[in-house]
């Protein structure tokens, strides 16, 4: 029997909870953004300090969008770099011969996580200087642990009977890794990436301290000037972004877990 996958057929089977889970978060976020625009931006008086900071409405809007784009870039680059390093590291510590090092590698990754992000920024500012690169480095360190840990956990949780059957049928270690362990551990691994990305949205706001841009710029400008509106614009939009990133990745994760159809 061939399943009817047409859009309208699928629509018929939608339940209220499906509709809510797909629409609630985006709708709420849109409302919040509109409120920010109406209540915070449109009420700025010309000539005020906020107006100086943001410029006219048009320029202000563009500055906010630029800052948001910078923010996204910080997160994307740092998370992708973290994936590139953490996934191999996570795989490595599940390999025979390297298992003894799993404590060491997890420990190193743990340091990145337990040192306050502002401290990492401060320390590496001295070495790497101000700007984008230092912020990326700090965020990268921050994202390592959840990804390494979940990669290793995901692989370790693959049913040993499946591995035994695969070995007994003459699959090489490489084939077992690529065809069995990685596909089966991917949902757990992806959950780690999601955690890392969401943490990074918040942490990236600190990037503004060292001139890396992002939505944190408004918060940092607003604090010494005691301008609540600037602080609120930065803070609320950062929160909106964190919630949206989490929501998007959650949906992607759902799709992936369904399609791998584990027992």
């Amino acid at each position: 029997m061939k399943e009817d996958t047409s859009f309208w057929q699928q629509l018929k089977h939608l339940t209220i909870s499906d509709v809510l889970s797909w629409t609630m978060i985006p709708v709420l976020m849109i409302i919040v953004v509109i409120l920010v625009y109406n209540q915070l931006l449109l009420t700025i008086e010309p000539g005020s300090m906020e107006a100086n900071m943001l410029g006219s409405y048009e320029i202000g809007f563009k500055r906010i969008m630029d800052a948001a784009a910078e923010h996204v870039r910080l997160i994307l680059v740092s998370t992708l770099l973290a994936i590139a390093v953490a996934v191999p590291a996570g795989i490595l510590i599940t390999r025979q011969g390297f298992r003894d090092f799993s404590g060491l590698i997890l420990g190193v990754a743990n340091i990145g996580q337990s040192v306050p992000s502002i401290a990492i920024l401060a320390i590496f500012m001295g070495i790497l200087g101000l700007g984008f690169k230092t912020a990326i480095f700090a965020l990268w360190m921050y994202a390592l642990l959840p990804i390494v840990r979940n990669t290793a956990t995901g692989i370790k949780e693959v049913d040993p009977d499946i591995i035994e059957a695969a070995t007994g049928m003459g699959m090489t270690n490489r084939q077992i890794l690529l065809q069995i362990e990685l596909p089966l551990s991917f949902p757990v691994m992806f959950a780690g990436m999601r955690t890392a990305a969401v943490i990074n949205v918040g942490t990236a706001a600190l990037g503004a301290f060292i001139g890396a841009g992002g939505l944190g710029t408004f918060i940092i400008a607003g604090i010494p000037l005691m301008r609540d509106r600037l602080i609120l614009v930065g803070a609320i939009l950062t929160a909106v972004m964190a919630i949206l990133v989490d929501w998007i990745l959650e949906k992607v994760q759902d799709k992936l877990v369904v399609s791998t159809a584990t027992v």
Binding site: D161, I162, E164, M169, L184, A261
Partner: protein, 380 residues
Amino acid sequence: MIKFENVTKIYPGMSSPAVDNLSFTVPTGEICTIVGPSGCGKTTALKLVNRLHELTDGNIYVLDKRGETQNVLEMDPIVLRRSIGYIIQQIGLFPHCTILKNIGTVPQMLGWDDARIRRRAEELVEMMNMPVEFLDRYPHELSGGQRQRIGVARGMAIDPPVMLMDEPFGALDPINRTLLQNEFLRLQQEIKKTILFVTHDIDEAIKMGDKICILNTGGHLEQFGSPANILARPANKFVEDFVGADRALKRLNLVRVEEAMNAHPPLLQATQNVEQAVGFMVEQGIRSAYVVDAAQTLKGYVRVRDLKGKTGWVGEFVEPAATTIQMTTSLKDALSEMLVVDYANVCVVDAQNRVRGLIDTNMIHEAVLKSAAIAEGEEE
């Protein structure tokens, strides 16, 4: 053929061996069951063959596809494993792959093309009495019994001459286990694989094995021989205890109904007239007889006392038989069936319900005595 030659396995850091100087030979086309209490090293012994564990001392030989004897220690483990069917209790199907991909694992590694893999997989699921549509499903969509059938099919994918089965039916419920055992034995009649079959269940060992290898704790071989032989003549106290006090009864498992039945029983035709039938039964000294039609299909039975003084055709007085037995049924199941329905004898039929013979308790008794005599003869 699978040949163990003074095989010893000692795990690193252990003082006593897991498998101790084990020697036996499984002839080509036979199933050898390895049975023993837990910790007797039966699974270890099995895994030495495909080198999931490496032996400490001795040699293991297997016959490869070209009919050449190979020392497994001289083969590349990956090549060796791909040439041997491996089936485990937990099945270990890949949950993220379709049944087709699961069955095609080894063929794919050996470079078969997709069409050939699909053809072979279709052939195998049909062999396992499953619909071809299953090939596109995922393991979690199948029941436990179906999954284990796929496990067996996967083990047979490249038609390996040698197969290793580690308690393959151990996780199934009793009904499914019996079903799969019977299916597999029927299959084995055709495929004639050389199989090493690990089980902890002596009944399964007796049922499935052409040979049984009984191991004791520490991997020590207590007895190797045919089931009849082991049941008739346990080598020592351990084997005697292990096969159980009912070992005489267990011999009933070894003989099939067709070997014990009377293949030329007195039968009545449904179209015979009643007086003639009564005369026949009195002459034969029987109180009842089974009735068949012209094609030898079973109609039921009649009793002398119901027919006496009546006229007409036998067919008019037929009562349906409460039970029949297949030719390949074991004597144990046949006897059980007879006790249930309380018949003096039971009709043996084939798949088309044609009468092939008759069996009663005397015949069962004689057949068991005969099998014991043969087993003793083997020993001398």
